[in-house]
């Protein structure tokens, strides 16, 4: 007789873990829940120890995101995501390439997921790398909103709205803000990828400005420079970026 299917449940909230366990016991009595984990690190440890057939995986868990855990068990176990809100309107989910359970659990839907899983168990677990890359992109796509850096002997956190401009210096990038200047390691190039392009414009090779702070655009023949509210300096705008300040 083939050994019964095994599963690991990964969910950080105690009561939710218990609820999923209780419902699975009712809907799938043959399933053996071999371990439960409350964070990403314990989840991987449990996986390596027990090599379950199925992993029920909450997406928001401490220590490591559920997506990272999924990437590591992909192809080796069937993954069922558990989520409180179907925030990822990803095609693969809709096509049924991977299963998911929504919290609060509706018994009927969990029963359907269980029957699908029983069928999948006959096959090798699919490789989820593509889907997971999409999920990652959906979550990582957020633009940065705050900056942390040392100011004097304190570490300050300021929202990006308070930044007047970023300027590259020899080893660091200088962050000019109302409360004082600070330095961060991110390069101008990295910042252009991560800052909200609707709020921050690169104006020359080494400077990104907060466009809400642009107070004056100065033209001197072919040269263009801008002055920002709260700062006396005039920042040069190089030719490739002249179009940003063209009068409409």
């Amino acid at each position: 007789m083939p050994s019964p299917p095994t599963a690991v449940i990964v969910e950080d909230e105690d009561l939710l873990r218990s609820e999923l366990r209780d419902q699975l016991v009712t809907l799938w009595p043959e399933l053996r829940i071999v371990a439960e984990a409350a964070d990403g690190v314990s989840a991987l440890r449990a996986f390596n120890e027990h090599r379950p057939d199925v992993v029920f995986l909450d997406i928001r868990i401490p220590a490591m995101s559920g997506i990272e855990v999924a990437e590591l068990v992909s192809g080796r176990a069937h993954v069922v995501f558990v989520t409180a809100h179907q925030e990822f309107a990803v095609a693969a989910f809709e096509q049924g390439a991977v299963d998911y359970v929504v919290k609060p659990i509706e018994t009927g839907r969990l029963a359907a997921t269980v029957s699908r899983l029983k069928e999948r168990l006959a096959h090798h677990p699919p490789d989820l790398t593509g889907l997971l890359a999409q999920l990652r992109a959906a979550t990582d796509g957020e633009k940065i909103r705050w900056i942390q850096a040392s100011v004097g002997n304190k570490i300050r956190i300021i929202p990006t709205e308070e930044v007047i401009y970023f300027q590259s210096e020899a080893k660091y990038t200088r962050v000019a803000a109302d409360r004082g200047d600070m330095h961060i390691r991110r390069s101008i190039k990295e910042l252009t990828e991560q800052l909200d392009p609707a709020a921050f414009w690169q104006v020359n090779r080494g400077i990104i400005v907060n466009i809400a702070r642009v107070e004056e655009v100065l033209r001197d023949g072919d040269h263009l420079s801008i002055r920002l509210r709260g700062r006396p300096e005039k920042l040069p705008v190089s030719h490739p970026f002249h179009h940003l300040f063209r009068r409409t």
């Binding site: 909230e13 609060p104 633009k143």
Partner: protein
């Protein structure tokens, strides 16, 4: 159309008492002298003077600046009495039988002058007063519009904050917890539902009125932390240490709870062992200080996304300008300290 209405208005305003007096004078004069007398001619003169003065006044464009405004009365002062003074002269020539005191040009001119200026000058001043009043009204109207836009923006910001607050993750995760408790421990389910309901209900009245108090904010914080305590168990420790004397102090709605939710979501939840949160409050003479301190994971990298404070910062700036502040600092060995400073006594959105 409007211009003539304005002129008519001025006529009614200034012209009427003068017109009445003029009419009385003219009537008196005519009656005194009788139809054939020179006084009748003078009466006609005065009437025509008044008519011409009024015409001159209407021709004064409202937009003429002050120095030029006097050109009309001056011109009128010269022309109109001169013209009207001719009447008696013509009358005497035309009807030699007229009785009444003999005219002298100077007398008639003087009479016409007095009459003209008595009508035109008040009219000019009245018009000017109207213009000033209209300008003041325009400024007031513009300011009202600005205020309305400002209020509208503030209302939109409040709405956004409210929408952001009822976060689906929080709601559905909490309900999922209640679902389990209903079967396993109904009394606990009841308590949790109560906390959830308190949390959800407390946002709405505050958002409508635009103002909240320290007491109301802390009640919402307490409801939120009570829910999270059930969900996270021992992973969440918390303490609210704000002197009850501060309960009545005004605060922008949802300001404190936003910071507490951030501490839980970004500081405590990501940690397997969890952490603790402490809410402290104090007031000195001028401002109220609220501190939300946690020992969670803190900010793990130089840059980060979405701690959702933009809306709160915007509202603080909109209400208090530079007088309020929100500062975030990293704690050692880990965690975040958020400090909210608000001037005492004011703080309404509305």
């Amino acid at each position: 159309m409007r211009y003539s209405q304005e002129v008519l208005g001025e006529f009614r305003g200034v012209g009427s008492p003068l017109a009445l007096i003029a009419a009385l004078v003219v009537a008196g004069v005519a009656w005194h002298g009788g139809p054939g007398s020179l006084w009748s001619a003078r009466a006609a003169q005065l009437l025509s003077t008044y008519f011409l003065a009024f015409v001159g006044l209407s021709l004064t464009r409202a937009s003429i600046p002050w120095p030029q405004h006097f050109a009309v009365p001056l011109g009128a002062a010269i022309a109109i009495p001169g013209f009207s003074a001719l009447w008696p002269a013509i009358a005497v020539q035309a009807l030699p039988s007229m009785s009444g005191p003999p005219h002298s040009f100077a007398f008639d001119y003087g009479l016409g002058l007095v009459f003209t200026e008595a009508l035109i000058l008040p009219g000019i001043f009245a018009r000017r007063a109207n213009e000033d009043r209209r300008d003041a009204e325009r400024v007031r109207h513009a300011r009202e519009l600005e205020q309305q836009t400002h209020l509208k923006q503030l209302a939109e910001m409040r709405l956004k904050a409210l929408q952001a607050q009822i976060e689906p993750h929080f709601l559905f995760n909490t309900l999922a917890n209640v679902q389990h408790l209903v079967r396993t421990s109904p009394a606990d389910a009841d308590r949790m539902l109560e906390s959830l309901i308190r949390y959800l209900k407390s946002a709405v009245p505050q958002m409508r009125s635009g103002a909240s108090t320290v007491g109301e904010e802390l009640a919402r914080v307490e409801a939120y932390l009570a829910v999270m305590r059930v969900r996270l168990g021992d992973r969440l420790r918390y303490e609210i240490a704000v002197p009850s004397a501060l309960n009545g102090e005004p605060l922008p709605p949802l300001s404190v709870v936003t910071l507490v939710e951030n501490a839980v979501r970004h500081g405590i939840e990501p940690r397997p062992e969890g952490g603790s949160i402490r809410v402290e409050g104090s007031a000195d003479g001028q401002s109220l200080t609220l501190r939300i301190v946690d020992d969670g994971v803190g900010f793990t990298s130089e840059l980060g996304d979405g701690i959702g404070l933009t809306n709160l910062r915007d509202r603080l700036a909109a209400i208090h300008g530079n007088a309020a502040s929100l500062d975030l600092a990293v704690r050692q060995p880990s965690g975040v300290e958020a400090t909210l400073r608000i001037p005492l006594g004011l703080a309404t959105d509305a």
